[in-house]
Amino acid sequence: MKTVLIQSQAFGRFLWKFIVGEDITLAIGVVLGLLAVALLHGGGIVSWWALPVIWVVALIISLRHATRKSGA
């Protein structure tokens, strides 16, 4: 049982790193973007623009984090 738990945790960590990568900001941006699209669409407002706008902001924030580390 303990081995299964350890292996599941290891697999979960691998999957997380595989999909999310080095910075969670991008994943948060995508989730917020999808939520914004769904909310705007639910309210009858044209919503296709929301996802790209939000991921661009998330990408800028993520790049700022990365470059600050490099330039420190």
């Binding site: 595989f18 999909i19 999310v20 990568g21 080095e22 910075d23 991008l26 994943a27 941006g29 995508v30 989730v31 973007g33 999808l34 939520l35 699209v37 769904a38 669409h41 639910g42 044209v46 919503s47 296709w48 929301a50 996802l51 790209p52 991921w55 661009v56 998330a58 990408l59 800028i60 993520s62 790049l63 990365a66 470059t67 490099s70 330039g71 420190a72």
Partner: protein
């Protein structure tokens, strides 16, 4: 319309991952003999084929709208990760991917592993087998992810799988001819292009899955891709300029 774009995206993504895996297999093969690394590579390819054959139809059976929301979202996160790395590399904040350096490092490690571990219980070289297996499996998982997500969302898994097979076959043939690292392949540029394509498809499918209707439907991809590219070019230009500013102050360490 999305068929050929899907093929190009899957082909480029698979080719670039195949180059990375091939570098390790060739380094081990040249240093320690070919039998075990080729066995390791074959075993990993078999596992990947099972993953694609098993997951593909299962994912395809999910209704299109939730599939596009979940898988489109995952593809977008994945693609943005590639774009982030590509922008950091292109602006000089991250080292470029250097296949020659990786090859030399692998050759040195394979030599340092010593001769005493070469003879395994089955008469092969466990080091060569394991390294080739791990390398092909890890790089191949990215390929499998792209093939399954692209293929399932477009309802064209066979086309995405065909792109993967053609890309891997091409890289293997070239590697057999060259017998060295495929450093002439413009890997950093291809990775940049793949990042843009993954991000564009992820944006299109993710937003559609969340309920949006793109103007012009599929044709809007012809607008999303160049706009995504343009955004990344602007970010590269801004970061390059900021790096120059930091360099004149002596602050950049990367």
């Amino acid at each position: 319309m999305t068929g050929w774009l899907l093929f190009v995206a899957a082909f480029l993504a698979c080719a670039v991952e195949a180059v990375e895996a091939t570098t390790v297999v060739v380094a081990v093969g040249v240093t320690r003999g070919w039998k075990s690394p080729l066995r390791g590579m074959s075993a990993a390819l078999a596992v990947l084929a099972i993953v694609i054959v098993g997951l593909g139809p299962a994912i395809s059976s999910i209704p299109l709208s939730p599939l596009r929301l979940i898988v489109g979202g995952l593809l977008l996160v994945f693609g943005l990760g590639w774009v982030r790395k590509a922008v950091l590399r292109a602006s000089g904040f991250k080292d470029l991917h250097d296949e020659d350096a990786i090859y030399l490092k692998q050759v040195a490690a394979a030599k340092a592993a010593g001769t005493e571990v070469r003879a395994g219980r089955l008469g092969g070289d466990p080091y060569g087998f394991t390294l080739a297996f791990k390398s092909v499996l890890l790089e191949g998982l990215e390929v499998a992810f792209i093939v399954v997500t692209f293929g399932a969302n477009a309802r064209e898994i066979p086309l995405a799988a065909l792109a993967a097979v053609v890309a891997v076959a091409l890289v293997v043939v070239v590697a057999v001819i060259v017998r060295g690292p495929l450093s002439k392949v413009p890997e950093n540029t291809i990775k940049y292009a793949v990042g843009i394509l993954l991000t564009s498809f992820g944006t299109f499918w993710g937003a559609e899955g969340a309920g949006a209707h793109w103007p012009g439907s599929d044709v809007s991809l012809l607008g999303i891709i160049p706009v995504t590219a343009l955004v990344t070019f602007v970010l590269v230009a801004v970061l390059r300029s900021s790096r120059r500013g930091l360099a004149t102050m002596g602050g950049v360490t990367a």
